[in-house]
């Protein structure tokens, strides 16, 4: 039947997200490029029939980011030493603009650094793209435990909103042409934005009404949500936020921060438990998180650990052109590529039907 019945969608998201987290900040271009290639292999092997639009979209976005990153480096990058390739006319800025430069000599390290960072961003984006191609967000939401289902659903609706928006935009574009108005440029965009948003908003309201009419969020017989649920959830969220910010910014003592964080998580968890016990909701297609799913998720976790370890003990991997050393393709990179490719070994079947 569907891919959903073969593989828990959470597995693909663990794999993609954990690899993405590990990759962030790793500026070895060879490593970024090999991960990109490995992701492309997995996506093309696993989604022969399904649309791989999300993945190709993420690749295009990645290229765009790379170009923007290079442009920023050339235009505003901090000027360092090194071989001067060419020079951009520089704009003298008043002294109180300290630290900001516009134009100047473009050096090899400047350009290479930007290229490495851009490649890294593209690889991180591609991880998200691969995950959402292999397991569409809607499937992920459907597989969530029922207590966080409502939360996930708002994300799913937001994601479903995008294709809705593009459809609405096409209709409005056609209509503008029929009225003899520009369909491109700034004037075109301004005239289209409002009707497109209005259309998509109307659709969202209709969808909410339909969900309501079909029993969404209905509780077990007897009563309303207890007051404790929203209070606990809010208190939990606030406590987690304060704790995390405190710890990261160093504003509070570690012990206080940790305590806040933990109590927040507990409060939020408790509110979810109450809510979960009250909801009627059952599932028709329950996909078990089997050993295959565990292997895929595990591959993601191993990538994360490997990348963290490299970051700490083999900083050459994150070498930037300014600090010397050239990027290397070592055994670690090979191992990482193997981990990204690992799902191919366990995921059943060649293609999603």
């Amino acid at each position: 039947m569907t891919a959903q019945q073969q593989m828990h969608p959470g597995a693909w998201w663990c794999w993609g997200l954990l690899t993405a987290v590990g990759l962030s900040g790793v500026t070895n271009p060879l490593l970024s490029a090999s991960v990109l290639a490995a992701l492309a292999v997995v996506v093309s092997a696993r989604s022969a029939t399904a649309s791989s639009r999300a993945f190709s979209l993420s690749l295009r976005l990645g290229v765009m980011l790379l170009v923007v990153r290079l442009f920023i480096a050339v235009a505003f990058g901090a000027r360092t030493g090194g071989t001067v390739l060419w020079s951009v006319p520089s704009v003298p800025l008043p002294s109180w603009f300290a630290g900001i430069t516009i134009g100047g000599p473009v050096t090899a390290p400047l350009l290479l650094g930007a290229l490495y960072q851009g490649l890294n961003l593209a690889a991180v984006l591609a991880c998200f793209g691969a995950a959402s191609t292999l397991a569409p967000p809607a499937e992920l939401v459907a597989a969530l435990p029922r207590s966080v289902y409502e939360l996930g659903l708002s994300v799913a609706i937001a994601l479903a909103f995008l294709p809705e928006l593009s459809e609405s935009a096409q209709a409005v574009r056609a209509a503008r042409r029929l009225r003899g108005r520009p369909t491109s440029g700034l004037a075109g965009f301004r005239g289209m934005a409002i009707p497109v948003l209005e259309g998509a908003l109307e659709r969202s309201v209709a969808m909410a009404a339909a969900m309501d009419a079909r029993g969404f969020g209905r509780l077990r017989s007897g009563g309303d949500h207890p007051r404790a649920v929203p209070v606990l959830a809010m208190a939990g969220a606030a406590s987690v936020t304060v704790g995390a910010v405190g710890l990261l910014a160093g504003g509070v003592a570690t012990a206080v921060g940790t305590a806040l964080l933990l109590s927040g998580v507990m409060a939020a968890g408790w509110s979810l438990r109450i809510r979960s016990a009250q909801l009627l909701r059952t599932r028709f297609t329950q996909v078990p998180f089997g050993w295959r799913a565990s292997v895929i998720a595990g591959a993601g976790a191993c990538s994360l650990v490997l990348l963290f370890a490299l970051d700490r003990w083999a900083p050459l991997l994150v070498a930037s052109p300014t600090s010397g050393g050239s990027p290397s393709f070592g055994i670690a990179t090979a191992l990482l590529v193997a981990l990204v490719l690992a799902p191919l070994a366990v995921a059943r079947g060649g293609a999603q039907a």
């Binding site: 029929l178 009225r179 003899g180 369909t183 309501d212 029993g215 009627l280 059952t282």
Partner: protein
């Protein structure tokens, strides 16, 4: 089953109630039809039956509404989910998930059905509504008729005893529409469900109804179909003729009217006066035009000429290529092969500003053409777009709709008023070719008569007009020539009277009644009755 006692509904910010003092009750296991002009409050009435009004929409409800023993005052939509299934006018706007299977099990999941119970319902309801072959399909790939069947199946899955449908057939071609209506009849007769259904095209459903609820002029009336047709402003053509000829008892269907036919023929001349087709001046041309979407031929070597001063009715099932044809003429769709000329130029190559002076298209949702915050502003910006004298568009709109406040927001207008505003915007540039895609969707009879007059006026001024529609009664009313399409090919092209009276089984009611005499519409029969001795 459903009981309204002294019910009035007033929306927030409105001066007057939508309608007031409604008292009636609908018996279980029967088909109940809700009729009334656009904007009369039919949807409000239907919305009350599962608490959508007032719990979701806001507003004040006085009096009491009880559905299956539950009061709407204390129960919201989700509390009615196991009792009342709801199907909206546009099924796609009610879809919540991505695939048919997910959509079908959605309500059952929310109501906590066990997996086995869900499987059982899927088997039974799925087979019954013939959606069991669609389970794996993404909702986006369904045809209009399939989507409506899936929406009805999804509403029935949780085992409600009441189904409420808001114009379930308005977007469907005649075949798909009768399929959906047959389903509803089965639900009532074989499964003893209570079906409440609103419908503009009363002729489709009148013979199914046990009772009719009329929502009109702020009043709600409920009674037997025969009594309802004596007083309703919205009636099928055969009832219109019957009322004019004072037949008693008033026939509701063509079959019931048959005994009166001989008496009617005596009062009519041999045949209506039919002007010959105008063939003198071509305003738009298609020559061996083909458009392919993947493997599908939306247009297959179509050759068609549109003449000045004619109203061409374009008919055919969903997917026949009607919208594609209009898209080609208006420069929105590129031809794979063949040529298209409008006023001597290929519309695809024209600049938007030049295009609007040669061809105007009113899309199925006329609201798409409107963006301004008020009617007046819309008219002013249309003048600027077309390089017209200030006030031109406003003058056109006043001709179509004399009494609309120019300060109102286009979205607050009724469907009919919005259509007229879009028409005014398009007509202001006086394009020699005017195209309309399904203009009667959501229009009541009064608005349709109005639209017919506007189109006749434009044709008399020399415009070539194409109306694509499923509404055979409307085409009979406005068209001089009719083109029938199927799977991208023109299968019939000729005098509207000839093509329509052979279009079994979806002929206009009057054609069914008086065949083989070539009468088509109630209007012309009533006019002829008046003049005959």
């Amino acid at each position: 089953m459903i009981t309204f006692s002294n019910v009035s509904v007033t929306y927030d910010g409105a001066d007057a109630p939508v309608w007031s003092d409604a008292s009636f009750s609908l018996q279980p296991g029967a088909f109940h039809l809700v009729v009334g002009p656009t904007g009369s409050g039919k949807s409000t009435l239907l919305g009350l039956m599962n608490g959508h009004v007032p719990h979701f929409t806001g507003g004040t409800v006085s009096g009491s509404v009880e559905v299956g023993g539950r009061s709407v005052a204390t129960h919201g939509p989700r509390d009615f989910a196991d009792l009342v299934g709801v199907v909206r006018q546009n099924p796609r706007s009610g879809f919540v998930t991505a695939t048919v299977l997910d959509e079908l099990v959605y309500a059952m999941e929310n109501l906590g059905f066990s997996r086995d119970a869900m499987q059982g319902q899927l088997d039974v309801v799925g087979r019954h509504l013939r959606v069991d072959t669609l389970f794996e399909r993404p909702l986006a790939t369904l045809s209009g008729g399939q989507a409506q069947r899936v929406a009805i199946a999804a509403a029935l899955m949780a085992g409600p005893s009441i189904v409420v449908l808001d114009e379930p057939t308005s977007g469907l071609d005649p075949d798909a529409a009768s399929e959906v209506l047959d389903l509803l009849v089965e639900l009532v007769h074989e499964h003893h469900m209570t079906v409440v259904c609103s419908e503009h095209r009363v002729e489709r459903v009148l013979d199914l109804a046990t009772s009719v609820v009329i929502v009109e002029d702020g009043q709600v009336w409920c009674g037997a179909p025969a009594a309802a047709m004596e007083r309703s402003s919205i009636v099928p053509p055969v009832v219109e003729v019957g009322r004019a000829a004072s037949w008693t008892p008033l026939p509701l269907t063509v079959a019931e009217a048959t005994p009166f036919v001989d008496a009617l023929r005596v009062r009519l001349p041999q045949a209506p006066e039919v002007p010959a087709l105008t063939r003198q001046c071509s305003v738009a041309n298609l020559s061996r035009a083909s458009v392919h979407y993947g493997d599908l031929a939306a247009l297959d070597a179509v050759t068609l000429e549109i003449h000045a001063g004619e109203v061409l009715g374009l008919m055919g099932p969903n997917g026949a290529g009607k919208s594609t044809l209009l898209g080609v003429f208006s420069g929105l769709v590129a031809l794979g092969e063949g040529t298209c000329t409008v006023g001597g130029a290929d519309p695809l190559t024209l600049e938007p500003a030049d295009l609007v002076r040669r061809v105007g298209l009113i899309p199925q949702d006329p609201g798409l053409l409107l963006y301004a915050a008020s009617v007046g502003e819309e008219c002013r910006s249309s003048d600027v777009d077309g390089g017209l004298a200030p006030g031109t568009t406003a003058a056109w709109f006043a001709r179509f709709q004399p009494s609309v406040d120019l300060l109102r927001h286009p979205r607050d207008l009724s469907e009919g008023q919005r259509l007229c505003l879009a028409l005014a915007v398009i007509c202001a540039s006086e394009p020699p070719v005017l195209l309309l895609d399904e203009p009667t969707c959501g229009l009541d009879n009064v608005a349709k008569v109005h639209l017919a007059a506007v189109l006749a006026d434009r044709a008399a001024a020399g415009a070539g007009i194409v109306v694509a529609s499923h509404d055979v009664e409307f085409i009979a009313e406005v068209a001089s020539r009719t083109v029938l399409m199927d799977r991208g090919v023109v299968v019939a092209d000729g005098l509207a009277r000839t093509v329509l009276s052979t279009a079994d089984p979806h002929r206009p009611q009057v054609a069914q009644l008086l065949s083989p005499d070539p009468w088509l519409t109630a209007t012309e029969v009533i006019a002829a009755m008046g003049t005959a001795p």
